[in-house]
Symmetry: C2
Subunit: 404 residues, 2 copies
Amino acid sequence: MALSPLAPASFPALPVIDGVRFATVAAGVRYKGRTDVMLAELAPGSTVAGVFTRSATRSAPVLDCQDKNGKAQSGRAAILVNSGNSNAFTGRNGVEAVNALTAAVAQTTGIDASRVFTSSTGVIGEPLPYDRIVAKLADLNAALDPAGIDAAAKAIMTTDTFPKGSAREITVDGKPVKIAGIAKGSGMIAPDMATMLVYIFTDAAIGHRALQGLLNEITDRTFNCITVDSDTSTSDTLIMGATGASGVQVEANPDFASALEEVMLDLALQVVRDGEGATKFVEVQVTGAASNEDARKVGLSIANSPLVKTAIAGQDANWGRIVMAVGKSGAQADRDRLSIRFGDITVAENGWRAPNYSEDATSAYMKQQDLVIGVDLGIGDGLATVWTCDLTHGYIDINADYRS
Amino acid sequence: MALSPLAPASFPALPVIDGVRFATVAAGVRYKGRTDVMLAELAPGSTVAGVFTRSATRSAPVLDCQDKNGKAQSGRAAILVNSGNSNAFTGRNGVEAVNALTAAVAQTTGIDASRVFTSSTGVIGEPLPYDRIVAKLADLNAALDPAGIDAAAKAIMTTDTFPKGSAREITVDGKPVKIAGIAKGSGMIAPDMATMLVYIFTDAAIGHRALQGLLNEITDRTFNCITVDSDTSTSDTLIMGATGASGVQVEANPDFASALEEVMLDLALQVVRDGEGATKFVEVQVTGAASNEDARKVGLSIANSPLVKTAIAGQDANWGRIVMAVGKSGAQADRDRLSIRFGDITVAENGWRAPNYSEDATSAYMKQQDLVIGVDLGIGDGLATVWTCDLTHGYIDINADYRS
């Protein structure tokens, strides 16, 4: 798969998070000649929290993680992830695979099985050949390395064209606190979910309940505001581990919350920039809605509209399709108060084309790689920002042929 | 535009409906070298009813039709339709255009302006050059012809690759009653709406209230159950005229209701068969849902999923994506009671791949042009059928380049 034209210039330098070690291996779950399993180990005293897909057909590993999440307040923990097979809709086989994997990780690492979290991503409905992963666990355990996070970001990729990472460092009471995260995701990306696969680590100290609250709140403004194709995965999982190794307590610390939000937004936007077939990155800014909820409906209606997304792919300033998407969104809207802009160019206002509308100026703007669509509903104070990509021949190529 | 591979072999023979006359003309609204305006005239004593888009940004002609619908019980009436420009999101200009057109039609035909219904379809946000249409009204009026319905079906096309027509004839109390309808639509087709542009005529006698009730009810099972691209038009309009010329009263007549439903379903499915870029026609049959509403949610979630639609385009029996679409639909679902079939082939049941699943047999089935996807949720008695097409390179070609 060719590198996305929206890919960042390079993978960011991720700091070592004290108390976390990583290992990867090529287990041949489905892919040949590449790593496809990652193991992360969290030191004693670590807090773990997560958010998960709300799909009614979610996978066996997701159900297992949800069951375990928050049962223990802190302690050693492990996260095992494979790519190539999602272990979703695999019936009794799915549960059997999760149980076998968590038992094997517990035995190999000495970590309690109730603190072993697993994720699987890839094809739906095929039995997971978990024995291939179990056979590699001793190797994985022996290879655990505090500097292994870059390799981990690569091992969890499926149709991704680049690995995704993000980090922030803040100072609390004169002491450094670090956050580092990795993500994968490219297709079957839609909101009303937790996210794709995302793993974030920090050496801050924070209790499970506080960490879970932060994740829930920030997910709504980051991963739940991106969409590639309106299709919600059965496997979306975000797990965060806080080792406390920095000795810094960050409960109710706004600087920590801000830094975490920056990492989560950065990872979410990298997922959009790796949207299947994407050639344009689009930020939809909705203001003036009757409520934030209405603003989000309008933003997602625009971001999920095949007609809007194909117009963007064709670099066509087709604002009529934005009007259509506002109209179908279900949000309160008044045609004659609606205004629409592309970047700084107002294209429509007061229910019609802007008086000084210039097709040439707008067309020139549409040739940019990063685009902003602004919609003001002129009704209230509700606002939301949603991020998406265009819909291109590349998306059809990938999905008409690839059994993902 | 190449003819859709799903097009019917020929345009059906539509009967003359006593009391209705048609004329068409090339007014050059946007297209060159083809007809783009149709006028239909209904004789004295005619009842008219309609259903319209629920879009919050609906067009000036739609708002005007909604305002007029049902105000007069019966009388002469006219329907004027242009293609090439939708007169949607055109602000005060839009209202001005509708008023000018209805006044001109009233003056030319002697029909009361409150009984002149107009529709416009095509590009959004451009002022409608209504003077070009007004200039042709005398010609149109002079050319009115009871046999003109075939030409009318052609004049209202935009990205359509074939004209759409359907008719039924029934006998009531020994007397013949005829129904004939035409439709246009190919993209920006999604449910939760009235439909695209549809005009249906009958020589039956039926009051406005009864006709309106029939249309509302049947629309929910026909036009509101089709989707091409999940995008709801700003202009969707269905108008039906009943001239009563047969002398047959059909209020509360089940044979008439059935025949009308057959015509409406036939036209709706022709719209799907002309879906932009479509190469496959897909019927999604949902059963065993907690309610009919839930069944419809599941059907539309499958029919609107880009991943399902691209898999169908690629002739890939990717039932994992059906599982995903059921999961994200918001309907009550139990992974372990769900079963899925392609045609007569059960591919998944009891939360996993069917024990005798054959990839070869399923792949062979997916090569057919007309496909049935069956989903049983195993929970209740709710059911729904939804119709759609695949998502192909053709859709991207049409919509990344065409300013529609």
